[in-house]
């Protein structure tokens, strides 16, 4: 095995490096803050001869995903990068990529959605495409961003899966932040991720096929079911591939990773970069004797209800921290956590906290506050406000 190489790089460079190590053939991309350093870095790799790939500098994200679809359908390993408005603009094509079972990988720099326009960290962009049939991975740090790119290709292209995948890294907090990472050696990645050869078919004049048929009511529901089943089957496959990755590269991934949860009364459930700060807060509170744990969601799609129930099945309170808001309901993660537990005999009280929208900071003290509020709910047995917004500036509210 080749040696891993230590580097200090921004999150976007980490996902770009992960992509490069995966040897993509075609990268159609359109710039959008905060994901732009990804296509920039890829361009540089190609200009310098470090990567033999074709970058298509499309005129919009709709075309980016469309070109991904075309390229993937002829059997090219394909990836792109986007964020926010860009992901929204490709919304239509996300469903189509998934429905066509094309294992495209997208590096996302998670960012808020307009209006008002805002370029900072927020999970609304990818959360609003949670129905699209894409797998969704979220990184806590740049190392995870790098690794998850390689993993995403491997999982997406697995014959049993054949679904596209997004790897989300938080805007600025990761995308533009330099951290130390260990980069696997190319030969090891090559071993882990063999070249892509579409098992289901590809566009080829030697063997003509029609992709993208019209699915009448006689077949549509079965076709959707077939696609959904592929997603439902992934948890085991993801676990298996995560294990293989750990064996090879020494880094451990889980769909949900528990931290100090064994004897916890209350668990904070987080996703993305906020997890680090939450961990620091948990450590502090533990020092103070609070029985608090942390669960980090790495795989949001498919939603790991099974693991969540294992981890949080016995606690009294679960604080679901959402960096997104579905107005008229609450946070998206919260809804699915509720879905996981609704029929359980025993289920934790659940609080939903909306945090960090549009780059609003999430401090340790905010996690402490969430913990306190959840604890109070547990103590009183009542959840008065299921959804609360944290770290609001009351002074500026009209």
């Amino acid at each position: 095995m080749g040696e891993q190489k230590g580097l200090t790089i921004q999150g976007n460079m980490a996902t770009a490096l992960g992509a490069k190590l995966s040897r993509p053939d075609v990268i159609p991309a359109y710039p959008i803050t905060p994901s732009t350093l990804f296509p920039e870095k890829i361009s540089e790799y190609i200009a310098d001869g470090e990567l033999d790939a074709s970058m298509i500098r499309v005129e919009s994200e709709h075309s980016a995903m469309s070109a991904c679809i075309g390229a993937s359908a002829v059997g090219a390993r394909t990836c792109t990068a986007s964020a926010s408005q860009g992901i929204a603009l490709m919304h239509e094509m996300l469903f189509i990529a998934a429905g066509m079972r094309l294992p495209i990988v997208m590096a996302v720099g998670n960012r808020a959605m307009s209006a008002p326009i805002n370029i900072w960290a927020d999970h609304q962009d990818t959360m609003a495409s949670r129905d699209s049939g894409w797998m969704q991975f979220y990184a806590e740090k740049n190392q995870e961003g790098l690794d998850l790119m390689i993993l995403a290709f491997r999982i997406a292209e697995d014959e049993r899966v054949l679904l596209p995948a997004m790897v989300g890294i938080d805007g600025f907090v990761l995308t533009h932040t330099v951290e130390g990472v260990q980069a696997p050696a190319q030969e090891d990645v090559d071993e882990f991720l063999p070249p892509y050869d579409p098992p289901h078919g590809k566009l080829d004049p030697e063997e003509p096929m029609t992709f993208g048929s019209l699915g009448t009511p006689e077949y549509y529901q079965e076709l959707k079911y077939d696609q959904t089943k592929a997603m439902d089957n992934t948890p085991e496959i993801i676990d298996e591939i995560f294990d293989e990755f750990e064996e090879k590269f020494g880094r451990n991934y889980n769909r949900i990773t528990p931290y100090r949860c064994e004897d916890a009364d209350i668990i904070l459930l987080t996703m993305g970069s906020m997890t680090g700060t939450a961990r620091a807060a948990v450590d502090e509170m533990r020092e103070e004797g609070e029985k608090v744990g942390l669960a980090k969601l790495t795989v949001f799609r498919p939603f790991p209800s099974d693991l969540l129930k294992e981890i949080a099945g016995d606690v009294h309170g679960l604080a679901v921290v959402d960096r997104n808001i579905s107005p008229g309901f609450g946070g998206a993660v919260f809804a699915e956590c509720a879905g996981a537990f609704i029929n359980e005999k025993k289920s934790p009280l659940m609080k939903n906290f909306i945090v960090g929208l549009g780059g609003r900071e999430i401090f340790k003290k905010n996690f402490r506050e969430m913990y306190e509020k959840t604890k109070k709910a547990v103590e009183t047995g009542k959840v008065e406000k299921p959804v609360e917004w944290i770290n609001m500036d009351e002074d500026v509210m009209r």
Partner: protein
């Protein structure tokens, strides 16, 4: 038509399988060719939207499985070798 099994993503590996669907039933008028008149200019062949005209040695013939009876061939034949007749029931 009887239903078949779905394929992954609905990918269709049977090129030209539309031929299973006989559009002849759409027709109310049927073309007939007068082989004697036909000069085999193949205008009808070129224009037929349904590929329902086959070339024969010295004229053409219709593939009534697919001919929808549009009447273009009759109209475009330069020597009036084709006539549309009401389809018998």
């Amino acid at each position: 038509m009887s239903k078949v099994k779905i394929t992954i993503a609905g990918i269709n590996k049977k090129p030209g399988s539309s031929k299973e669907y006989k559009t002849g039933g759409w027709r109310t008028m049927k073309p007939e060719v007068d082989v004697e008149k036909c000069i085999r200019c193949l205008q009808c062949f070129d224009y037929c939207p349904d590929g329902a005209i086959k070339k024969t040695e010295d004229a053409i013939e219709f593939d009534l499985d697919y001919c929808k009876g549009c009447g273009i061939c009759e109209r475009e034949c330069p020597v009036e070798a084709i006539v549309m007749k009401v389809e018998e029931k």
